[in-house]
């Protein structure tokens, strides 16, 4: 049945898309706008204490790693649709490969935090 791995990437794309849709806007607002602009105070110690918690690490892993597969799948098809269809195998390897590397780096950063 597994004549193609497309379903795997589509499922990862879908899950990543759901995570991104529900969680990214509020986290973007908090971490990239509110905290730097001082609207929500967040000291280094406060952030470090937060990410030390194992459940928080798990949450952050889901938040960061899964949407990477969403990006990889969408970006690969955008490049194909823009005329690079002939390079589809290479594009798939580069995009999904980047997502996998990103997943490993995310896990490493979170475990070390």
């Amino acid at each position: 049945m597994a004549r193609t791995t497309e379903p795997l990437w589509w499922l990862l794309f879908s899950v990543g898309g759901v995570v991104a849709a529900i969680l990214v806007p509020v986290h973007l607002f908090v971490h990239a706008l509110a905290v730097p602009l001082g609207w929500i105070p967040m000291s280094q110690a406060s952030m470090a204490a937060l990410v030390a918690h194992p459940l928080v690490k798990l949450y952050l892993f889901v938040l960061i790693a899964l949407p990477l597969y969403h990006w990889a799948h969408r970006f690969r098809f955008v490049l194909e649709d823009l005329g690079l269809h002939g390079l589809r195998t290479l594009l798939a390897v580069l995009c999904y490969g980047a997502a996998i590397v990103g997943t490993v780096v995310t896990a490493w950063v979170l475990l070390a935090a």
Partner: protein, 252 residues
């Protein structure tokens, strides 16, 4: 008495005469109730009998008269001149298909894909006539009726850039019709259609642009059929990977 007129710019192409299609201008009478198809028939009857195009029912049920009207795939029997004033109106053959002559395209590829999805009721065993008819509740009919409205006009293929980029892509209408039979309670043929759907150029090329459903003149919503087929196919795949000992291959 001077009659109001409108200009049509129509694609002309004839193998042997033209290396590539060109636009030819025609001035036709403007009538409030005329559609583009009426204008084309006027040209063929009164101006240039060599203009070639397909048409039949002129009321939006046969699917023959699909063409690009100002860059949009339309049934020309449903595209009113009054909605395209002051013109000129550009009439071209449906995009993404090979052009045989003027506005006539080759539908061979679509017909081939249609055959491949086996668009008919498939049963393990036919019920004998004595046992009576197959009964369907209104809810069971609702499950597939929308997708049965397809008239094979292939406007959806003309609207789909993926089909333009990847000619092997199964495409909107063929997938919608596969889905129509998969969702029919009388059908038991899901497992025969599944390999065609699950192929890498089955549903997986689709990036849910959605223009196919926008241009469909019968409200079939082939984009929905494709996305639901993706979900079904991905579920099958996940089951086959996580439970390889599984029973019958593929259920609705």
């Amino acid at each position: 008495m001077s009659r109001e007129t409108i200009t049509l710019e129509v694609t002309r192409y004839a193998a042997g005469q033209d290396r590539e299609p060109r636009l030819e201008s025609f001035t036709v009478p403007y009538q409030e109730d005329w559609v583009v198809l009426d204008a084309l028939n006027y040209i063929k009857d009164q101006v240039d009998g060599s203009l070639s195009f397909r048409w039949s029912c002129r009321m939006g049920v046969c699917g023959s008269c699909g063409m690009m009207v100002n860059g949009v795939p339309r049934l020309t029997c449903a595209a009113f001149l009054r909605d395209h004033r002051p013109g000129p109106i550009r009439v071209e053959p449906l995009a993404n298909f090979p052009v045989i002559r003027d506005l006539v395209i080759s539908m061979d590829d679509f017909m081939d894909k249609l055959r491949r999805v086996k668009p008919w009721i498939i049963r393990d065993a036919e019920r004998p006539v004595a046992e009576g008819e197959y009964r369907q509740s209104p809810a069971q009919l609702d499950a597939f009726k929308q997708f049965s409205m397809c008239i094979n006009c292939v406007l959806c293929y003309a609207a789909c850039p993926v089909y333009g980029i990847e000619p092997l892509f199964l495409g909107p209408a063929a997938t919608a019709l596969a889905h129509r039979y998969n969702m029919d309670s009388r059908d038991e043929g899901y497992r025969f259609r599944a390999p065609v759907i699950a192929d890498s150029v089955g549903v997986w090329e689709c990036t849910f642009i959605g223009e196919c459903s926008v241009v469909c003149p019968k409200g079939v919503d082939p984009a929905a059929a494709i996305q639901r087929s993706k979900l079904a196919s991905a579920t099958d795949w996940a089951r086959s990977v996580l439970m390889p000992w599984g029973g019958r291959g593929g259920d609705r």
